[in-house]
């Protein structure tokens, strides 16, 4: 008859697993009841958290997409050598043929002065200007596309080309790539800083919300402590509540980011369309959304921030409550 206190003192065979399941199942049930009793507060809080997380998530999305596009551009990196105007066409062609054997692992294309003019006149707006010219002002050129991108390889090829007496000018187009990379690094730093600010903001917001929820349940907490509830028992549903808010906010942030990413794709494609006529190669920009893993990470991050904020806020508050 007399068996107060811990029930598992008597039921020794009861496994730890079912005890934990009972303990946390109970806390989750209480959390569900609390959310159902105040859906507006929970909804608004999740929305605030969602909007806050969307900002850094968007920056990550933009940075990731630029990174992908940059990779494609790097593949297209090329070195162009322009011949002196007085170098004859067949001589220039000869040299480019010889380069084929000198430079390994690269695609070498010879562009004669005539074909360069033909390419240029494809751009319709320039036709009247070109038509008025007496002679072809364009030099012959050789375009080298290294198979493996990288500054070192490009420099090597540049040296080879510069050493040719017939070559007037060698143009390397990777300087702007380096600058772009630096910009992307800046964007990454910015999104890290913003994430840090958002995380600390969320800790404060969620901590504060859960704190006032503790305040309004003061009487209930007092009664629970009176009949032997531990601080952990009191804390548990609040921690779950904070975790729920964070997870719901994270889920909303994922939805917002996906929606904005979708809009962005439409806008980027419309923008790209305006560049199409000048581009010999058709380029399709596909804005990639966040991956499943990234989405899960955002939701998990939200949940842990929420749980953590609630944990500290509740612990601080209930220590001051005496039954």
């Amino acid at each position: 008859m007399v068996n107060a206190g811990r029930p598992h003192a008597k039921q020794g065979s009861r496994r730890l697993v079912s005890l934990l399941a009972e303990r946390h199942g109970q806390a989750i049930r209480q959390t569900v009841v609390r959310i159902r009793n105040g859906p507006l507060t929970a909804g608004l809080m999740s929305l605030v958290i969602g909007v806050a997380i969307t900002l850094p998530a968007l920056l990550v999305l933009i940075s990731a997409n630029l990174q992908t596009q940059l990779g494609k551009v790097e593949d297209m990196a090329e070195i162009t050598a322009y011949f002196f105007a007085n170098v004859r066409d067949n001589r220039a062609f000869e040299i480019s043929e010889r380069l084929q054997t000198q430079i390994a692992r690269a695609e070498i294309n010879y562009v004669s002065a005539a074909s360069a003019l033909a390419q240029l006149s494809e751009v319709t707006t320039l036709q009247p200007v070109l038509g008025s010219l007496e002679s072809n002002p364009l030099p012959a050129a050789v375009i080298v596309r290294p198979e493996e991108p990288g500054v070192a390889t490009a420099r090597e090829i540049e040296q080879t080309l510069v050493s040719l007496p017939e070559v007037e000018l060698v143009q390397l187009d990777f300087l702007w790539l380096q600058r772009l990379e630096a910009w992307l690094d800046l964007l990454d730093t910015l999104s890290s800083a913003l994430s840090l600010i958002v995380v600390s903001g969320l800790l404060l917001i969620i901590g504060n919300t859960v704190g006032s929820s503790v305040q309004s349940r003061r009487e209930e907490i007092r009664i629970i402590k009176q009949i032997g509830g531990t601080d952990a028992y009191v804390r548990r549903p609040f921690v779950y509540f904070g975790g729920f808010l964070g997870a719901a906010g994270g889920t909303l942030a994922c939805l917002f980011t996906a929606a904005i990413g979708h809009q962005l794709a439409t806008a980027v494609n419309a923008l790209a369309l305006h560049y199409q006529p000048a581009q010999p190669v058709q380029t399709v920009f596909a804005v990639a959304g966040l991956s499943v893993g990234q989405n899960l990470a955002i939701i998990l991050l939200g949940a842990s921030i929420g749980g953590l904020a609630a944990f500290f806020s509740v612990s601080r508050k209930i220590a001051t409550f005496n039954p």
């Binding site: 007399v2 107060a4 811990r6 029930p7 009861r14 009972e22 009176q226 032997g228 005496n322």
Partner: protein, 219 residues
């Protein structure tokens, strides 16, 4: 089970609620605590439940000194006591059944076991048909009985009751005290604070009388 030795309780200079109170309650004993209001009855109960710590003397409950218990030890200490409060102390945002289930939930009993015991406890106080009601829709007497069901549901070693019959008509009062007697018969120590003289004489258990913080009679 409960042992007071020269226990004093001061709430400030000149405000002595208890002075040098000594008594002992054995296992399975039912004891009444009586006296005028303000005599210190509630203070005695609050000290046993460790809601307050005495300012002098020594207090042992179930073989343990209350002073110096850690926070989690205090929680375990309170779990072996079923307390009936004068103002019921029910949670109005949950049903009668959930209120009674609270001590079992805190002690982490299995779900099914909780349901069974809650129904048994409510049946004992004659409120089984109101399991799903909100306590707000119950009369004062019914709320009192819900509080009693909650106090006994965990089959505690000690039951403390502060004016448990205060809101009940004489017939129900007798019923409730009979329930308490049943518990004491199986070894539960019970301390009931009451100034209902008629009831006290009718049941004839040992009575401690407090007068201005001093024990004037050991009954």
């Amino acid at each position: 089970m409960i042992k007071f030795e020269n226990v004093s309780m001061r709430y400030g200079p000149g405000l002595e609620a208890l002075s040098k109170v000594s008594f002992e309650i054995n296992r399975g004993e039912l004891v009444f605590l009586t006296g005028h209001s303000g005599a210190g009855k509630s203070t005695v109960l609050r000290l046993v439940l460790a809601l307050e710590t005495c300012s002098g003397g020594s207090l042992m409950v179930a073989g343990k000194r209350i002073k110096g218990l850690s926070k989690s030890e205090l929680a375990l200490h309170r779990r072996q006591i079923g307390a009936v409060f004068q103002d019921h102390q029910l949670l109005f945002d949950r049903s009668v059944g959930d209120n009674v289930a609270l001590p079992l939930q805190i002690a982490e009993f299995p779900h099914r076991e909780i349901k069974r015991r809650v129904r048994a406890a409510l049946d004992k106080v004659g409120l089984l048909h109101k399991e799903t009601y909100s306590p707000a829709h119950l009369s004062g007497g019914e709320q009192q009985r819900v509080g009693i069901a909650r106090a006994v549901v965990n089959r505690p070693r000690i039951i403390l009751a502060d004016e448990p019959t205060g809101n009940l008509d004489p017939e129900l009062s007798v019923d409730v005290l009979t329930v308490f007697e049943q518990f004491s018969a199986v070894g539960v120590s019970i301390l009931i604070a009451s100034h209902d003289g008629v009831l006290l004489s009718q049941f004839g258990h040992r009575t401690l009388t407090l007068d201005q913080g001093r024990l004037s009679s050991h009954g």
